[in-house]
Assembly symmetry: C2
Homo-oligomer: 220 residues x 2
């Protein structure tokens, strides 16, 4: 069973200092940390597990799963053979830096190159809160429609990469990638945009190469 951390205190003050300390500890351990932000049900866990498979033999992945309740995501990650910790925020709508500190203490950082921090499913609240991550990635699924960057600008503005997931479902929903990309480019002109389907594997190789490049650039 993966370790589940039930967060109790709420020391919001000093979050950025804690984030900086997390970042230093991650750097010292040679871990590249990615804060993954998305709506509920965008396919964060599925994509992370598929990505870990894609990177098998190249980069060693670990996972911090943030949810209000439940540990099914961390269990799924552990069943896939990944070091995983579940954080239950107990109602909080986003992770905080102190939650990541607790999670890091439970992980074998020396055996991890790439740490995916799956934030609470929420396109709003996680956007303003630093955890100590190196990169922020936003996922939105084709099923959510093409207006998400228009309606939730902040989270897209700070993204180092944007993933459109569930590309295999695109023919069955109202999704126009050119409209989506138009809204996105107004906020974040040069951000890499990946079209992925964890189900069919489409786009996974390109996404994996981008992550390898990021790890190289960060000295991983």
């Amino acid at each position: 069973m993966p370790k589940t951390i039930l967060v109790r205190q709420s020391p919001f003050a000093g979050n950025n200092e804690t984030a900086l300390a997390n970042r230093a500890a991650l750097d010292a351990a040679g871990v590249l940390a990615i804060n993954v932000m998305a709506s509920p049900g965008a396919g964060k866990t599925t994509l992370i597990l598929a990505t870990a498979g894609e990177l098998h033999g190249k980069l060693r992945c670990g996972v911090v799963e943030g949810d209000i309740a439940g540990d099914i995501d961390a269990r799924a990650a552990e069943e896939a053979g990944l070091p995983a910790v579940q954080i239950n925020t107990g109602g909080a709508c986003h992770l905080r830096a102190d939650m990541l500190t607790q999670a890091m203490a439970e992980l074998p950082l020396g055996e991890i190159d790439l740490l995916f921090i799956e934030n609470v499913g929420n396109l709003v609240c996680p956007a303003g809160v630093l955890l100590g991550e190196h990169l922020r990635v936003v996922i939105s699924s084709t099923a959510e429609g093409h207006d998400k960057p228009l309606k939730y600008p902040r989270v897209f503005r700070d993204a180092a990469a944007v993933v459109v997931s569930k590309w295999d479902v695109a023919p069955y929903v109202d999704f126009d990638i050119s409209v989506y990309e138009g809204y996105l480019r107004r906020l974040n002109a040069g951000v890499p945009l990946f079209r992925l389907s964890a189900r069919t594997g489409q786009g996974m190789a390109e996404w994996g190469r981008w992550l390898e490049e990021q790890a190289r650039m960060h000295g991983g």
Copy 2:
């Protein structure tokens, strides 16, 4: 063009008192108000517009659209012939009662039987904030997967009805209604559960009848 309200002040204190005043004003006008809560991209606007069509000639519908940014939802409602107001929260992750007060002042309440208040797309933060609504409805789409009630318990616990939207997409995504319903029933044993597709019309008649019954029971 629908009226767009840009919310500036943040008088969070006194929210419940404001909600009670809203409720009294809605009751005086004979309006049944429904707070619609869902993830980004669950299909709130699409479902509301399809519902207004379903109820045409039976109940007169109006819409308050809550978004962090953008007015495309209120414009779509107005194009569909509905009285509509857009609220832009300017970053806030949920509507507040004072925002509804401002929206109500812009609406012809005497010509509305059923007022849909579309909250900001977020399964977490709107759950704890009363607006003055009579009923709360949660929508989650099949594309989001069947674990949403497990992961976001609070919003499902208080729902007067739960809608599973995008039922037409269910064959193309990993969605098991029995798993979903199992999680839901642990939180909210007797809540009516509707399986809808605004695209194909499936389930819309039953959903419309439920809303008519609610309006009757509230003296509408």
